[in-house]
Structure formats: C-alpha cells, structure tokens
C-alpha cells in the first residue's frame, strides 16, 4: 500500500527524521490560512500517489498566502495521470544547497533491506541508474542485526556529508531505517534529502510503500489508505477478501489462484480478447464470495462476458458450481458466462452447471475462446 507524501512524512517525523512536515489543505482558503502560519515562501504540492506531479504542474512555489491560495485553487481538482487531486500539502519552501537520494528497499535478490543512495537527489533513481550508475551506492544490510553504525558512516562518506552534519545524517538514516522496520515497509524513500543554504539536513519529499501482508498488525497504518485513489471496485473486493485488479478489457475473469488468474487473462488475450480484470477468488469459495465477485466484475460496464475458471484443489468444484448458480439469481445485470471447473469434485459440478444452462468448457484454451466469442456476440 502506497502512502501519500504527507502520511509518509508524518511517519518519518515520528521516527525522528528532520523535515518540515507542513499541513494538508483541501480548499484554497485552507491553503492560504496554513501559508499565513508558516515561514515564506511556501510550496504547494498535489498529494497524489502517481509520479510526475511536478511536470504536471502539481507543485508550485508561493511567496505570499494569497499566491498559495491561487496555486491551491489551480492544483485542487487537477487531474494527474487520471487521478483527481483532492488534497494539497502546504509546507515551508527550502533554499536548497544540495540534494541527495536516500532510500531503503526490501531487496528480493539480496534477501535484505538494502540502502540505495546517490548524491544526485531530486531525480528518479532509475534515471541516475541508467545515466551514471557509479553515482549510486547499493548496500544490503545484515538481515538479522540490521543497520549498524558502520553502515551509516559508509553512506555518509559516500555522499560526502560534512563532519558537522554527520550526527544529523545519522538521525536521518537511523530514523528512515526504524520507520521502515516499524511500519513493515517495502520501500521508504527520501528524495530529495536536502542540505539547505543555512546548513541543515531536511527531507523535502518522502514516499513509503507498505507490505500489504503486514497491514494486519498495523491497524493505524491501514487507516492511512487513500480510498480516493483506489478504484471503487477494488475497495469492495478488498473488503470482501478478494484479490482484484481492474483492467480495461471486456472479459471479466473469476479464477481461483493468482497464477492461474494471470494465466486466464493471458489466454483471453491470446484468444483475441481483452481481460477486464484480474480476480483471484481464493480458496474454498462459497456462494457469498462468488456473489461478491460477480458484483465486483459486473460493476464495470465494459464487461461483456465472464470467464470462470476453477481448478478444484482446496476449493471443491461442486461448491463453486452451486455458488455460481445461486449467486447468478441475485445479479442486477446479466452477461454470458463461460464456466470451466476441473479438479476436485469437477464431475459433481458438471450436472449442476448443465442444469443451469451455463456455457462450459473442458480446457482453459477452449474456455477463453468461448468467452471471447460470447463477448463479441454480446457487443
């Protein structure tokens, strides 16, 4: 789960990272009022989870509170990569002497929390990696004892942090690490970490991405989820315990298992169609879950047909078949359904599906072809 800049900064501030958090506003008037209370100039920043907000005009400097209000007015309601800006962050602007990139990631290859840092701050690390990779230090930390003082020293010397700022730098990296571990993050990034002209270290922008699997033990962080930036259907799916991602095609997919769900999408494409979604219904899908999955899929008006692909293992085929038949009666909208059930209790599922006059298929390839055909016929 990605956190907004202002949420990420709230967290880093709690862990002692020096920064000027600023305050969020949802109206120009609020932005103006906030600007009045802090040192000028201020910066007004769109709070969206997509990249490139600067280029899109979502970050503006204001010399006066009135200017802050005008900028907020321009930014609020703006659409950045399809996301409507609903919140801006108003914070004191810094006079930047130099900028760094400093991040921690969960490094799958190194199987470690890894520091990634560069003296080239303010630009995307992928850009630095492609232009001059030697400017980047990638340092895996020991997985059982974590961030050590010598790790901090090495990063500080790599970045050329001056002796008088080393204590403060230690606080930044220690805080970033503690925040990473404390929130179960996948990524905790400060970009840029700036040295101001008056010689202070400060985190000007921050991004934290949380490990979804760990959210269960961080109810406080779960509350930071920004539902405005999530598809309504994805929110509904999450609440129903269904793995769902909305896509742009016309063939709704309902599958058990993530790998098989991706494969089902791939085969729809291979059959000449476009998947409308990724949907993994999980194990042991009963009627209520199937019904929820139907509602979520059909909430998308583009969906012209549904492909249901169940490989019975934990999930029993006949249960799913009954669930489908039962749930179908509750639907607001009807589209052709192609059902393929194999594996555990597939034989028991077959007559149930036949009786309900559902289109069935033996192989996944066949199911995909039938679903694509059905969607075309329906269009």
């Amino acid at each position: 789960m990605k956190l907004q800049e202002y949420r990420s900064k709230e967290i880093l501030a709690q862990y002692g990272v020096p920064l000027q958090a600023g305050t969020t506003a949802t109206t120009p008037e609020e932005a103006e009022a906030i600007a009045r209370t802090i040192a000028r100039p201020v910066v007004v920043k769109a709070q969206v989870l997509v990249g490139g907000r600067g280029k899109a005009g979502g970050v503006k400097l204001a010399e006066t509170p009135e200017e802050a209000a005008r900028h907020a007015e321009a930014i609020l309601g703006m659409s950045i990569k399809g996301i409507t800006v609903r919140t801006v962050l108003v914070a004191p602007a810094a006079n930047i002497a130099s900028e760094f990139y400093l991040a921690l990631i969960l490094d799958r290859a190194a199987k470690a929390i890894t520091v990634i840092t560069s003296a080239e701050g303010g630009v995307e690390i992928e850009k630095t990696a492609s232009t001059h990779p030697e400017a980047i230090l990638r340092m895996p930390l020991h997985p059982l004892i974590g961030l050590q003082e010598h790790n901090i020293r090495r990063v500080a010397f790599f970045l050329g942090i001056s002796p008088d700022l080393r204590r403060e730098f230690r606080q930044v990296l220690r805080g970033l690490y503690d925040a990473f571990v404390g929130t179960d993050a996948d990524l905790a990034e400060i970009n840029p970490l700036a040295i101001t002209e008056d010689g202070r270290l400060t985190a000007l922008d921050a991004k934290i991405v949380l490990d979804d699997s760990a959210l269960a033990r961080h109810p406080d962080l779960e509350l930071m989820r920004d539902l405005n930036e999530e598809e309504r259907s994805e929110t509904a799916a999450r609440q129903a315990g269904i793995n769902f991602i909305k896509l742009d095609g016309s063939i709704g997919c309902m599958v058990n298992g993530a790998g098989l769900a991706m494969t089902t999408m791939d085969l729809v494409k291979l059959a000449g169609g476009e998947p409308a979604n990724f949907l993994d219904i999980g194990g042991g899908a009963k009627a209520d879950k199937v019904a929820a999955a139907f509602r979520i899929i059909l909430d998308d008006p583009n969906v012209k047909a549904i492909l249901i692909n169940i490989f019975g293992g934990i999930t029993r085929g006949d249960e799913v078949a009954r669930g489908i038949v039962e749930a179908r009666t509750t639907l607001a909208r009807h589209v052709p359904m192609v059902v393929r059930i194999v594996g555990t209790n597939a034989a028991e599922a077959a007559p149930i599906l036949a009786e309900a006059n559902l289109i069935t298929a033996d192989s996944l390839d066949e199911a995909a072809a039938k679903a694509v055909a059905a969607a075309r016929a329906d269009a």
Partner: protein, 294 residues
Amino acid sequence: MSILVSGATRLVVQGITGREGEFHSHAMQAFGTQIVAGVTPGKGGQTALNGSVPVFDTMAEAVREVGANASCIFVPAAAAPDAILEAADAAVALIVCITENIPALDMLRVYHVLRQQGIRLLGPNCPGLTSVAERAKVGIIPNDIHRPGSVGLVSRSGTLTYEVVQAMTDAGIGQSTCVGIGGDPIVGTGFIDVLDMFNEDPETEAMVMIGEIGGEEEERAAAFVKREVRKPMAAFIAGRTAPAGRRMGHAGAIISGGAGTAESKRAALDAAGVAVADSPSHIPQLLRAAGVGG
C-alpha cells in the same frame, strides 16, 4: 525416485487440529505420506486423523518422541514465522510452509536463520510438493492429478501448477516430483535450488518450470539452466497481460521499475534453450517435441 521427500519422510503437521490442517493431513495420509505426529500447542496428549496420529504441544517433543524429520505448516500468518523457527530448532530436515500473507520482514529473518542452520524451507505461500512415484506428498497439491513418470515440475504458483500437471497427466506424461516454491518475494527455496536437485536426480529426465511476473528469479534460473542443465526443459510464464506496478495476487508478483516482466523472463528462458509455452496446455507437446516419452 524423488527429491526432498520420499517413503522415508516422517511428517509432522503443525496446526493439525485446525480446519485446513486436518483436511489436508487426511489427503496427505490418503496419498500415502507417513504422518507421524501433529503439533498444536495446548493439545498435547490428544490424537488426530481418526486416532492414528499423536498430537504434541511442541515440535521438540514430536521429534524426540516419534522421530519426525519433516514438517508441514498450516498455521495462521501471525504465528507461522514462529512455527517455522520452532520446526528449525527441532532440527527437522525439511519444512514446508503453506501459510500465505506472512509479512516479508518476518520471512527475511526466518530465511536467514534457517539458511544458517542448514534447514530446507519450502514456501511460504506455496502448495508444497509431491513425490509421485514414492507416494509422498507434503502440502496441498491435489492427489489425483498425477501420473508417475520422469518429468520434474517446479512452480511459483498453486492452481496453475495443478493445471499444468493435469495437462501432462492427460497427455500421458508422468511426473517424478512436483514442487511449488511459493509466490512470496522471500521464499526458502528458489527455482535454481529445485532445478539443481532435478538436474542431479537420476529419475528426472526432463523439467518443467512455471514462473510468473515479478523479481528476477526466472532470469537467474535461465542463466543457471544455460550453464548447468542438459536435460530437456519446458516453461510457462504467467502474467503477460499484467499491468506494471500492481501486485497480482501473490505478494511477489509485481512488475516494478521495468523489471520482472513476463517478456523478460520468456526471453531469458528462450535464450537458455528452454521451450516456452504460450498456454499451459502446450507444455505436453513441447515436452514431446524435446523427446520426452510417456
């Protein structure tokens, strides 16, 4: 023959008295797995699986009392890392963790502790493995999809694995061992580990690898195959249509920063001489084309 499990496997099931643990323990026992104990803290002294198996409070007892040498874990995510560490401390040789949604930082710790102790972990978030010829299964792969044979299969997925195994069985191509390594970013055993074992296993004549988007394990496996493997191989990669930046069900299945795409993995495997299928159903014909018999 088989890798990792065999008729000598003496399995303890952690969480045997839970709904899933009990269901799958029955299936494992029905398949032929030698289940010697269950562990559920607080239920020591009871029995499970219709009285056929003693339940202990701790793994230490299960190992001491009945000589368990492998463990299968059906314990909720909050308690699963501790269950794995307990099994490792009791020094079983193989731990298979079925549990999904274990926080990655917990697994990071567990991974390194087990590695240092020299204990093999499969998973988490995996369907386990089945030795077809030896009738030994640790995990949740359905019992009746197999046919004994000489193809070793390794996969990051669950039901997709079943799909491929079923397709092989239907085509008359049998399996030696089927291994699900799990869909999480940090898993105990990777593709290369399993491919290496298959490569050394005299009863495995060909291999199938089922990958998916995210990470670079498939690319690394391809490099390993190119360097080390001379047995015929086919592969399938799920997620060609997956959008970037989204986690596709599995915690590990995400394309990030341009890395981890299906195309990158397919290209790497292709370059390593592995036949890459467009659909799971094509796997049998690719194997046949590579000279694999019944």
